[in-house]
């Protein structure tokens, strides 16, 4: 099975706005109630697996976007709606807590 943190990334060019899962450690903790950057996700598009910390993250108000480092597929979208976080995990085939 390929690595989610495979360094080859053929998605959109990584610019200065591309961060990684560490940048949303606080947000993920808020959403899941526990530390999640070391949780292992499986990409529903390409099957890559790896820690959320190594995924590509874009912080764009009002939504945070998490993409697969291997195929650029959308893994997680978190949108803040009236002080509530709406979380879309459909891009993940699996998420194993650390």
């Amino acid at each position: 099975m390929p690595d989610l943190d495979a360094r080859a990334f053929d998605g959109p060019a990584l610019d200065g706005t591309a961060l990684d899962g560490n940048a949303i450690a606080g947000l993920l903790h808020e959403v899941f109630g526990t530390e999640m950057t070391s949780a292992i996700g499986t990409c529903a598009s390409c099957g890559a697996t790896g820690p959320l910390a190594e995924c590509v993250v874009y912080l764009r108000a009002p939504g945070t976007v998490v993409r697969c480092r291997r195929c650029a597929g959308l893994l997680i979208v978190i949108a803040r709606v009236r002080a509530m976080n709406c979380v879309d995990l459909r891009g993940l085939a699996a998420l194993a807590a650390p």
Binding site: D3, G16, N22, A25, E35, T37, A53, E54, N85, L95
Partner: protein
């Protein structure tokens, strides 16, 4: 997986600014008195929240610069046109209050007494901050884990914690200066290269672990280089601060 909406459990709290220390002309360390701080691990960060009078809110992450067991401190580099860092480095005074939550993160962390793998630390600019916590923790805990640091900075005056880093007797510190080198500089110049990484990084056979931190472009470059040397991707831990590193 199904979508969910869960209420948060990590709480924002008010810290009080203690001492502030100018590290370089654009970088300041801010000590923080955080009531009930439960302690942190080397490499973790905290989130800072500024709220303007009109209710506008800006949140940013800052790595914890101090070792576990030491008072909480962050080290912030001023980004000239930034929203948050000019306030933290220019306006905040001892005794002021600052809203934050943390510590957070459990991946880009190093525990003294954990696996005894030789450490390769690679920093670009302010990416040295969490690595400094690791180095201090290693020192304070008397860990004998071999460590090497590769630090890419724009110029010598922009090297953060310079004296402290040079003071480690058992850590080989290699600098590379990307923009300006002082007269007579015999160290490395320019972006890190595969050759430089090969020189600094422990051979793969020693089962090392690498922590790479800094501007996104630096991290991509250094992590690619280490994987190119044969480091398994899961032994190259990365943390991207954003920005281009000004190159």
């Amino acid at each position: 997986m199904a979508g969910t909406a869960v209420r948060g459990r990590l709480t924002w709290q008010i810290a009080t600014v203690g001492e502030v220390i100018d590290e370089t002309p654009t970088v300041r360390t801010i000590e923080l008195d955080v009531p009930g701080w439960a302690g942190h691990r080397a490499g973790q960060h905290l989130d800072v929240r500024l709220t303007a009078e009109d209710g506008y809110v800006a949140e940013r992450s800052y790595s914890i610069a101090s070792a576990p067991g030491e008072p909480v401190a962050i080290t912030v580099q001023r980004i000239a046109d930034g929203e948050v860092s000019p306030y933290l480095t220019g306006e905040l005074r001892p005794g002021d209050e600052l809203e934050l939550r943390g510590p957070v993160g459990g991946y880009f962390v190093w525990d003294a007494g954990g696996a005894e793998r030789p450490l390769v630390l690679a920093a670009g600019g302010s990416g040295i901050v969490p690595l400094r916590s690791i180095l201090r923790d290693r020192q304070r805990s008397g860990s004998g884990v071999p460590a090497r640091l590769l630090y890419s900075a724009r110029s010598l005056p922009e090297v953060i914690y310079h004296d402290e880093l040079d003071g480690y007797r058992d850590v080989a510190v290699t600098y590379t200066l990307t923009r300006r080198q002082p007269p007579g500089w015999t160290g490395h110049a320019g972006r890190i290269t595969a050759d430089l990484l090969a020189e600094v990084a422990w051979p793969v056979g020693q089962d090392p672990v690498a922590f790479v931190c800094g501007p996104t472009s630096f991290v991509e470059h250094a992590a690619d280089g280490l994987v190119g040397l044969g480091y398994p991707p899961h032994r190259v831990k990365t943390e991207r601060f954003g920005g281009t590193g000004g190159r």
